[in-house]
């Protein structure tokens, strides 16, 4: 099986990403500034330690001079600095973490909110898994960025600066030697970043393939088992898994060559430099042992921050890639069509007019061509036609899921664009082909987020579509838990719940998208009765496979390749003996003999 590469994963972060990510720091600048001050004080306290010991060695220990008061002060200061350092470091870490988490939360809410405003055009093009990953996993990777940058880089950069300053304070010439270290380390870091970046990215890509494979297998496991492909899928998974392992091992090799082991070589080399410096100087002058002590001590501290920063480079890189992807999503402009103007008209009568509407999903093939019709208030307009004839597209446009580019759609003689989202969603009730249920309970699934819908209204809506009998038979009744996608309910039961959901908002206009397709005839019979009741006083646009369900429609539109090829009432269309008549005969199938 081919594993499609996650195309959106193939981005290279641009320079702007870093700046933009830093932009999220701004709202938390007070918190960050506070944490930074704490960090600066803690770091100062940290690097002062060896200097105090150096003072002690050179001023008191070497000359064997021990006055009580200065020594107690020296010791007291040392201990005080230690305690302060620890306390401040704790507060500083909590502060930075807090800021990082808040920033990520803000970013997540922004991305999620953004996605809510995007149109179905966007969702059609983006696989669910990719989108979920953007909102959760990628933002999680960015969290690592904030934590890393704030906790590791800022902290370690400060510490390194502190160490260098202390070294210069102790011995200017030797410190100069040590400063040469900086470019060497930066060079190694850059080399490492260049080499490991590729390998690291490769490993991430393999991991994403691995997860995609696993996710799909879990979803389709019943099929894999029914078709006895466990063995093959196992070996396919094993292969992807093996590829991932290879990439990881390569990663480890590079890390082992360039990270801590190399830094330790550097440490020992600089130790030799310091020893030689003091050794050679000792040949012609007296040296302060305390200074040597302090240098060795600083050197020991020097490499730990460098190691940490090196190790975080990939996290950093990964966060940049994740950031790029999240920002791509944030910059997405495929918005859901929304209100234009601020007139706020209301849908009172429910007249629906399509005026010469031509529509295309991809901008190339027109799926609807010059569609014009009017559904007068209270009327039922039925859409029939082959699969792919454009029925659903008409519904999609009426629901304002996609923007109308050519032609006009009017509701109550006002362009569809002029209505607010709330007005549109409250007045046009859609029953979808796929009765999607949410995790929660039955009542929640009927009510959705419309808190104004009372319990009585929920029951009423259920009764209206005759879903009450099966719901009341459930152990928990209306509080019966609904699992992921309503998997514990049958397709028909799910459908009934989704009908009740539509009825709960008491829409002015009813849109039925192949809603009756997968319910058994008896349930459908019940629903037909309910629909009849519902349709009283409501304009209805209905898609139905079985022509029998829409025979009483005021207007039937027969669609073929995106065009209305026939229109009229059931009787008229039958008399016309055209496409509709053919479809009708086909549906009657073998019963013709009985009918004649």
């Amino acid at each position: 099986m081919i594993n499609q590469v996650d195309q959106m994963a193939e981005v290279t972060p641009t320079k702007g990403v870093f700046r933009r990510l830093l932009g999220y720091l701004r709202p938390h600048r007070t918190l960050l500034f506070g944490a930074f001050i704490l960090l600066a004080v803690a770091t100062t306290a940290d690097v002062l330690g060896p200097i105090l010991i150096q003072q002690f060695i050179d001023k008191y220990l070497t000359p064997r001079h021990f006055p009580t008061e200065p020594l107690v002060i020296l010791g007291g200061v040392y201990l005080f600095l230690q305690v302060m350092k620890s306390g401040f470091n704790f507060l500083q870490l909590v502060g930075f973490q807090n800021a990082a988490l808040k920033m990520i939360q803000a970013l997540r809410i922004e991305v999620f909110g953004k996605v809510q405003r995007l149109g179905l055009t966007f969702f059609d093009r983006t696989p669910t898994g990719v989108l979920v990953s953007r909102i959760t996993n990628d933002t999680e990777a960015i969290k690592d960025f904030y934590v890393t940058v704030l906790s590791t880089y800022v902290k370690n950069a400060l510490l390194l600066i502190g160490i260098f300053v202390s070294m210069f304070f102790l011995d200017f010439r030797l410190a100069l030697f040590c400063v040469i270290l900086a470019p060497v380390i930066v060079y190694i870091m850059m080399m490492y970043r260049k080499i490991s970046g590729r390998v690291f990215h490769e490993a991430r890509r393999k991991l994403s393939q691995l997860n995609a494979k696993l996710n799909e297998s879990l979803q389709g496991m019943y099929l894999i088992q029914a078709m006895r492909q466990q063995e093959r899928l196992r070996s396919e998974f094993g292969e992807v898994n093996g590829d991932y392992q290879k990439a990881r091992l390569r990663n480890i090799r590079i890390n082992s060559l360039m990270l801590r082991p190399l830094m330790d070589v550097l440490y020992l080399a600089v130790l030799v430099v310091i020893m030689s410096f003091f050794g050679i100087r000792s040949f012609h002058s007296v040296i302060d042992i305390g200074v040597l002590y302090a240098f060795v001590n600083y050197l020991e501290r020097f490499f730990e921050p460098v190691n940490e920063m090196m190790q975080q480079l990939n996290v950093f890189q990964q966060a940049m890639v994740a950031g790029e992807r999240v920002f791509q999503l944030l910059d997405q402009t495929l918005y859901a069509p929304t209100q234009i103007g601020s007139a706020n008209p209301e849908i009172a009568r429910g007249k629906v007019t399509f005026d010469d509407v031509t529509f295309s999903y991809d901008g190339e093939t027109d799926v609807l061509k010059n569609i014009s019709f009017t559904a007068y208030p209270g009327q039922t307009v039925a859409l029939v036609g082959h699969t792919g004839s454009g029925k659903s597209s008409i519904v999609n446009l009426l629901m304002r899921f996609y923007p109308v580019v050519k032609g006009r759609i009017m509701v109550d003689d006002v362009p569809l664009d002029a209505y607010s989202d709330i007005e549109l969603r409250n007045k046009i009730g859609l029953v979808l082909q796929d009765p999607f249920l949410f995790v929660g309970d039955i009542a929640q699934n009927i009510r959705l987020g419309n808190e104004h819908v009372t319990d009585a209204e929920v029951v009423e809506a259920a009764r209206f579509v005759q879903a009450d009998s099966f719901i009341e038979r459930l152990v928990g009744g209306y509080q019966e838990p609904v699992r992921e996608r309503g998997s514990t309910l049958s397709a028909g039961q799910r459908q009934l719940v989704s009908f009740a959901r539509t009825m709960a908002i008491e829409p002015k206009i009813l849109v039925l998208d192949e809603a009756t397709a997968s319910v058994d005839t008896e349930t459908e019979e019940a629903i037909q009765t309910a629909l009849l009741k519902m349709r009283r006083g409501r304009t209805t646009i209905a898609i139905a496979h079985r022509l029998s369900t829409i025979q009483d429609a005021d207007l039937i539109l027969v669609l073929h390749h995106g065009e209305i090829v026939e229109r009229g009432t059931h009787q008229e269309l039958l008399a016309h003996r055209g496409l509709y008549h053919k479809m009708y005969l086909l549906q009657q199938g073998g019963r013709e003999a009985v009918q004649l």
């Binding site: 081919i2 499609q4 996650d6 940290d46 010991i53 002690f56 230690q82 620890s86 306390g87 870490l93 973490q97 988490l101 939360q105 809410i109 909110g113 809510q116 969702f123 669910t128 959760t136 997860n211 995609a212 696993l214 799909e216 019943y222 099929l223 088992q225 029914a226 078709m227 006895r228 094993g238 392992q245 480890i252 082992s256 082991p261 330790d264 020992l268 130790l271 030799v272 020893m275 003091f278 050679i280 000792s282 040949f283 042992i289 002590y293 899921f401 709330i422 969603r425 999607f436 995790v439 987020g449 419309n450 049958s490 039961q493 959901r501 058994d520 005839t521 029998s548 479809m583 019963r591």
Partner: protein, 585 residues
Amino acid sequence: MRVFLDLMWYFKAHKWRYLSGILVLIAISVIMLIPPQIVGMLVDRVSHKTLTTALLIRYGVVILTIAVILYILRYIWRILLFGAAVRLATQLRNQLYDHFTRMSPEFYHERRIGDLMAHSTNDIQAVEQTAMQGIMTFVDSIATGVAVIITMAVSLDWKLTIIALLPLPLVAWSSSYYGSLMHHRFGKAQAAFSDLNDRVQENISGVRVIKAFGQEQVEEVNFRHLSQDVVDKNMAVAKIDALFDPTISLVTGISFFLTIAVGAVFVVHGHLTLGQLTAFTMYLGQLVWPMLAFGWLFNIVERGHASYDRIRVLLATPAAITDHSDAVDAVPEGQIEFHMDAFQYPSQAAPLLKDLHLSVEAGQTLGIVGRTGSGKTTLFKLLLREFDAAEGSIRIGGRPITKYKLNSLRKGMSYVPQDHFLFSASIAENIAFAKPTASFEEIQMAAKIAAIHDDIVRFPAGYGTIVGERGVTLSGGQKQRISIARAILVDADILILDDCLSAVDAKTEQAILESLKANRSARTTLIATHRLSTIEHADYIIVLDDGCIVEQGTHEQLVLQNGWYKDMYQRQQLESLVEQGGTAG
């Protein structure tokens, strides 16, 4: 630390890798003891003015040689131990996948895919970290710790060593205390993230419903709450996390203070030279790492422990459906008999099938109708052994299906489920899913029977068109027909069609049924449907209601009975007749 015992099976399996890795780590700890000694000697030589150029060069050469040796050794143990951990993760992942393929639908009914994914990604990662950083830290901190402490005590001063190490137990205690807090809170943070993930998944999947009902803002508010929960739970973790470093550095600071203070007294009294004191503090510096590492170790190990427990629980879930010891390896054929006294899903209270006795002769077509939830799909699931019926049996060719090997049983059946799931692969690969060796002609043939061939060749990439999550969007009807083609290609004796033509229009349905009939003579076909026209020509039809057969017979017989079938049929007829009468005048 128990997780190390839990993972012992793996360590044992790779004992040479681990033993050599550990030996290298110990060797490094010992070699690392040399530089401080040399620095100490240098300090003493400098203070006594006995340093010579030759000596200085020798010191330098020794340290540089050590540097090179350490570099090589450090590379080696990383490859050995880290490599082993990566392999462990690969192995666990394969094990889990393997296990997943053995789990019956019951298992998947009870769990969310998102949770299973989390076990396979996050939990395995945590275990890998345990085997990687955990083992390394454990060995290295103990080896370094012991080596350094012994050297300090033996070659420098044991009294000073004891004093310097006095604060140490505090590190061990706080590490373990923080670790247990961490374990607890980390689990909650993970759970919160998982909730968030599930929520987003559901939101995206249900985007049409959300948009149709204008629920975007409600969803945003819910998301805000969930993300706040994630922040709170993570903050709880961060507060503990932030305690590790400061605690350890405070203890270290006190330790340094004691060393210098007491060490100074020793120097004054001549027990210790200044060089030795310098070397001693360098050793103390080397101890900081094991101490810090021990803090992390608890952290890492706690996470790994929790994760490995979850993985083990998962792996320990027994397969609900297994081969019986006396099962035969033969593909079932012949008459199918159902003798079901009662069947209910494990999580449900009321039985779904009751007193269902039925037989289907080989080569016959059985039609199953009945209202939604009457047990049609359940019957198929039992036949495929997705679930086992406790009361009753299903026999094929006289042998209970439980006495066939699962693989053989399913080999005898082509199944088209109600929900049409396609894999992220080309259309050809999807059709050939159950028979990957199928030739292109066979694939095309199956597609033609399922009336999808014409649709397929209209795609730019034809049979190579990628479908599924990451591929092109197909209509429900197209997906259904591809999944029918997939089952047809298997060409098994028993074909099961579970209401799989619902999104296909009447004309296409008729075409499919006709070509099926032509291509499947003398094969058994079971069709569940809501459309009576689909099964009108079936040899036998049963009507299910509430899990019981309420009516049965041929179409002709059923329309003569005064029951549900006739009722349904008449309602449709009535409609047609009224219609016909209308036009006929």
